[in-house]
Amino acid sequence: MERRRVAISGLGVVSAIGNTVPDFFASLIQGRSGVRRLPWREDTVAASVEWHDESHFPRAQLNMLDRFSQFALVAAQQAVDQAGLSPAQLATPRTGVYFGSGLGGAKTMDSGYHSYLSPAGRVPPTLVVLTMANAAAAHISLRHGIRGPSLTYSIACASAAVAIGEAFRAIRDGYVDVAIAGGSEALLAPGVVAGWNAMRVLAPPAADPASSCRPFARDRRGLVLGEGAAAFVLESEAHLQARKGTPLAILAGYGIASDAAHLAKPDAGGQVLAMRAALADARMEPADIGYINAHGTATPVGDPVETASIKQVFGDSARDVPVSSTKALHGHLLGASGAVELVAAVMAVREGMVPPTCHLDAADPECDLDYVPNTARPAPALHAALSNSFAFGGTNATLVVTRTT
């Protein structure tokens, strides 16, 4: 039976390396890093977003918007604007919102607890509705009058990839015609960062703090936290054609699988299953893939496991496919990472240009693929790209995108 094809008709991004898609992709290609020391915690680097909230929202609205909801709304608006959907085309029960976040309104929660434990002991009455994990999806639905499902997926670092994948399935299976899908994260708050530091998985500041995140490198020291959001307008190809819209790319496949092995330690078993499932879903062979946007967090444990997984899936041709981790520049956006990195993959196939893995001078001997070190690579024939997102908890999600023709 012929399946409904799912087109991507709009993209939006908010990140440390650009708050528009062209800026974001130019930073990736030119190797501009958004990583710097946190102003309030000098021993920690992060990829924080330059953000002046009053330039995006009236003051009266900001009372109801945690930073993660602000990022989500701005990214979603960019995607809607690019798709050219009218308000009437969005405001129907045939449109849904599918969004991911790891920690929801973490900054509001953090400051709320700080206030609660202070002598005054007061907590703002908006704490509950600002921090709830589904606040971002709810605000997108409210803003655009979207009457179909408004769903939130919280699967740690795979949240956004799963949200996009589930939206893809909902369109393909005919439950909705249009979806705003993506992820948002904004957890650079003192208590949360202390938790990450306590876990000892963060890279310490490098001599040049901007180069602290070093995926696949021999001298990598850990991940670097990021923040931001990315959003997509996904649409059944029939709906897009009927309204004479323009597809940017095709979302061709989604695979999801669990390690069932450990709460935090990555495992090749689930990663291989997810990549194979996504390829099968897209009805593609490994040889069809011309670029892999790796999960590549730059932790000592994670990068060799992902390398081994790619080798299992791609076999003898694993070294022929360019693999890069763009986290070196935008950091690890956790619950938004799958969305931000899918923007990178979509732009790579659209522009025929593979973004590099920056800060990679000498690869770990256990990491022996083609990581496109430091310099972007023209790839005019690039047709399909695969993006990996692997989560704490052991959930692995893989998405496949292709050019429109």
Partner: protein
């Protein structure tokens, strides 16, 4: 009372971008964009500004003036209390 109104204006401007002119006593709170949650939040901010703890807000507060009189009465009640030592 004047002190209370001044505090209400400061908070309204700072938190909501509502100008002092819009806070005329006869203006309906609902027309300023205060739904029930925003109203509770406004009261929370006023507590911080005035250093008082307000009881639950009566449901019949309709206008800016109603709220100002209610808050001012609570401020006066607090000031009349013997200082704790």
């Amino acid at each position: 009372m004047d002190q209370t109104v001044e505090a209400m204006r400061r908070v309204a401007e700072r938190k909501y971008g509502i100008s002092a002119a819009q806070l005329a006593p006869d203006n309906d709170l609902a027309t300023l964009g205060f739904d029930s949650l925003a109203f509770v939040e406004y009261a929370f901010e006023l507590e911080g500004e005035l250093g008082v703890v307000l009881p639950d807000l009566p449901r019949d507060l309709k206008t800016v003036g109603d709220l100002a009189r209610f808050v001012a009465a609570e401020v006066a009640r607090k000031q009349a209390e013997p200082a704790a030592d």
